[in-house]
């Protein structure tokens, strides 16, 4: 095998941040190379350099032995480099074929776009690589898994033989992930392509890659043959210290029912039915996990329970009180805390300080104000400092503007606030999205602590591993309906995957 790509002492400096620090790395022809690291480790930056989006501030890049002088996506495409971004680069209102042809359109009579030819070329690629998708379908109408295929086809259309995949499995079901890996193996084997996959899911590294490079804080920590390492080793390389994926100690027996949902119907923002007749209950001292592919009603369900979304039909009971149609404030008063899905829009006030964010919901407490209008600032700050320490928030102190903090620390602010209410009910959505492994460990421990203390926890997460790790029971949602309920230790991820796609029972029937 020869060197396909060679980074030599590459550095990339953004104002105030050294995103890539003196990186030298060779990637060989015809291999699957995994690039792992925590958020902000510099993986995407390095790949954006390869794809010409970023121009490195120092060092040089060689592709097939040739030094790269012009950094632009166009030049990269011409060098045969294709990239599938984490957020898909597709125009929703265009058809599959139009998206694939964008930028290199086949023409009719030199002026007009030849749609027929674009569809024919797309069909040829589909057949050659076995990536089935309808060329004339509009992209906004097809599933995320298919959209990813369109992305891959797009790179192939542009003649790529080096394929960069940025977190390709983040939005896929286990089945779709298997299919994707099958495609990757096939194109590497049959078409001699080189594939670079950016990920932070270590079991995927083990499953698909030949070699793996680990990045941390802008530096390349090491490059290993995948067969010589295991997940534990990679995790400690990523974090810089041993990471213990310990079994979380779950103690105590479940108590009385604290959240009860009966035959709930909720619509999404477009007015389409999102939750269609969901009934569930969570008892104190247990974690009920919701496993579902994004957009199957889990967000709307949690918003309805917490009072943020209108309930069309059905009942929600929190700690014995009827919470149907009540405001978030009234439901909180019944004993519910909520870690919302999107911390930036509903979890924190970005321009406010850590202190003010921690105070939210407590402003009316006697100890924090005088006569109802004067805020006792020193008491507030003392209180904020306590939480700051207790939840290991890392920033420039309690006066830091929350918007300037990393995702993990921002999430700690949210969790610190919500957990400090000590309510019997916790509704937690995406607790560790965009959070690094170290912080993830911390959140998981905290959640289980709450469970063991007797809180009823309703958890929704796009990370199936997380759902398995934390839950006592798991329900699967598909198109707004519950398709299955399981004890967490009595089912495998693959089985759950079937229920998440609505084929669980259907396959048997």
């Amino acid at each position: 095998m020869t060197d396909e790509i060679r980074f030599e002492h590459i550095s990339m400096e953004f104002p105030g941040v050294l995103a890539n620090d003196d990186i030298s790395l060779s990637i060989r022809n015809g291999e699957v190379f995994a690039l792992v690291g925590e958020n902000g480790a510099g993986k995407s930056t390095l790949m954006n350099i390869l794809y010409g989006i970023n121009t490195p501030t120092a060092g040089s890049l060689y592709v097939r032995g040739e030094k790269v002088t012009e950094f632009s996506p166009k030049a990269a495409i011409n060098r045969g480099i294709g990239m599938v971004h984490q957020h898909f680069m597709l125009v929703p209102s265009f058809t599959v074929a139009q998206n694939i042809a964008l930028g290199r359109e086949p023409k009719k009579g030199k002026v007009l776009f030849d749609n027929k030819k674009a569809e024919r070329l797309t069909r040829e690629l589909i057949e050659e690589y076995g990536l089935e998708v309808d060329p004339s379908a509009e992209v906004r109408d097809i599933s995320v898994g298919l959209q990813q295929r369109v992305e891959i086809l797009k790179t192939l259309y542009r003649g790529a033989d080096i394929l960069i995949l940025d977190e390709p499995t983040a939005v896929l079901t286990p089945q779709e992930t298997d299919e994707l890996f099958e495609v990757i193996r096939r194109i590497v084997r049959e078409k001699q392509m080189t594939v670079i996959i950016i990920t932070h899911k270590l079991y995927e590294v083990m499953a698909i890659s030949d070699r793996v490079g680990v990045m941390r804080q802008g530096k390349l920590i090491g490059v290993e043959n995948t067969c010589d390492v295991d997940e534990r080793k990679l995790a400690s390389m990523m974090v810089g210290r041993p990471v213990l994926f310990d079994h979380l100690e779950k103690t105590g027996d479940p108590g009385e029912v604290a959240i009860k949902v009966d035959d709930l119907f909720v619509a999404d923002n477009r007015g389409l039915p999102a939750v269609r007749g969901v009934s569930l209950s969570v008892r104190r001292g247990e974690v009920l996990g919701i496993a579902a592919i994004e957009g199957n009603g889990q967000s709307e369900l949690l918003e309805a329970i917490t009072g943020m979304r209108k309930i069309n039909r059905g009942r929600v009971t929190v700690c014995g009180n009827d919470a149907t149609g009540k405001t978030p404030g009234e439901i909180r008063a019944m004993g519910l805390s909520h870690v919302p899905e999107d911390r930036l829009s509903t979890g924190v006030d970005k321009v406010a300080s850590v202190t003010d964010n921690l105070l939210v919901g407590r402003q009316k407490e006697k100890r924090f104000n005088l006569f109802g209008f004067h805020q006792r600032r020193s008491t507030v700050e003392r209180y904020a400092s306590e939480l700051y320490k207790k939840f290991d928030i890392r920033g420039a102190g309690i006066h830091t503007e929350v918007g300037s903090m990393s995702g993990g620390n921002m999430q700690k602010v949210v969790v610190a606030r919500e957990f400090s209410f000590d309510t019997p009910v916790l509704v937690i959505s995406q607790p560790t999205r965009g959070v690094d492994i170290g912080a993830m460990e911390f959140f998981h421990t905290r959640i289980i602590e709450k469970r063991n203390d007797g809180a009823a926890i309703l958890l929704s997460s796009a990370d199936l591993d997380e759902v398995f790790r934390l839950s006592d029971r798991i329900i699967t949602l598909y198109e707004g309906k519950i398709t299955g309920e399981f004890k967490a230790d009595a089912i495998t991820k693959e089985e759950i995957g079937l229920y998440m796609t609505g084929t669980g029972e259907g396959a048997k029937a």
């Binding site: 794809y51 989006i53 632009s72 996506p73 166009k74 495409i77 990239m83 971004h85 957020h87 680069m89 597709l90 125009v91 929703p92 209102s93 265009f94 139009q98 998206n99 964008l102 930028g103 290199r104 359109e105 023409k107 002026v111 007009l112 776009f113 619509a267 477009r270 007015g271 389409l272 039915p273 269609r276 198109e479």
Partner: protein, 328 residues
Amino acid sequence: MNNSGPSFWTTASSTLHFMLSSATPVALAALGGLLTEHAGIMNIGMDGMILMGAFVAAAVAAIAKSALLGVLAVIFLGVLIGLFFALFTVKLRSDEFIIGCALNTLALGLTGYLADAWFGLDGIRIDMTIPAMQNAYFHNINVPLIKEVPFLGDVFSGHTAFVYITWLLVIVMWLFVYRTPMGFWIRASGESPDTLRTAGKNPERMKWIASILCGVFCGLAGASLSLGKLNCTFVENMSDSRGYIAFACVIFGGANPVKVFLAALMFGFFDALGDQLKVIIQSDLPYAYLVNAIPYVITIIMMVYVVVSGQRRRERIAKQQLRKLEQK
């Protein structure tokens, strides 16, 4: 037909004739506005662009004694206005709304002032006869065969060149937007700029192009106002909010050139209807001028309709989906 006075058919044909000519400036501006709309720029500055176009066309035509030079000048001006607009909205990333407002206010003040300073006729009114134009191609073109057809001849023949060119441009623009690579790029630059960037095309460049073309179209819309008559005439605030109506047409027609043109025709129709009503209800009645408000009232009704029908449609789809799901 025994009834005296103008027969129904005469009234109808003159109303429709007026509709076609009245829709033209709105349609021209809207053809430009749909490009910026596709490119993801909220362009409320079209009214100012039209007004400047109207002034420059009239001024140049009056000075040079040539309507054709006026039109050429307006194309050049349109490019400049488009560049100016893109400089702020695309390059400097200023707020589109504010820039649009600024452009409108600037145009109103500047054209009024310059008209007074340079021509001084009637304060802010340029009203000149262009000799070279007396037999020019700009007005009252009689379409050979159609003009012989009784009713249709009265409706479709005898318009200014702007009217016929606009019809042609509607088709050209439809092909451009939906059938050429550049059209795809402009649409992608608004809908998903990063996608276009990763496809190796520069979305900012597409926004620049859309802005410039919009400037040219709006300029032409202005020229059609001031040169579309026998004499070249400019009056203060000549655009008379047509830029806003054009913007409404863009939204109403979903930025599709053909649909946008139909929306403009609808405005033209109500404008013409108002004109006829004025005659009928005698203009010396105190509230007669209220009929002038018809096109604007229609704008409001249409925008409400767009919003409400969008909601209805979503609800209907929701109900259909629910029914389908429940049948499963």
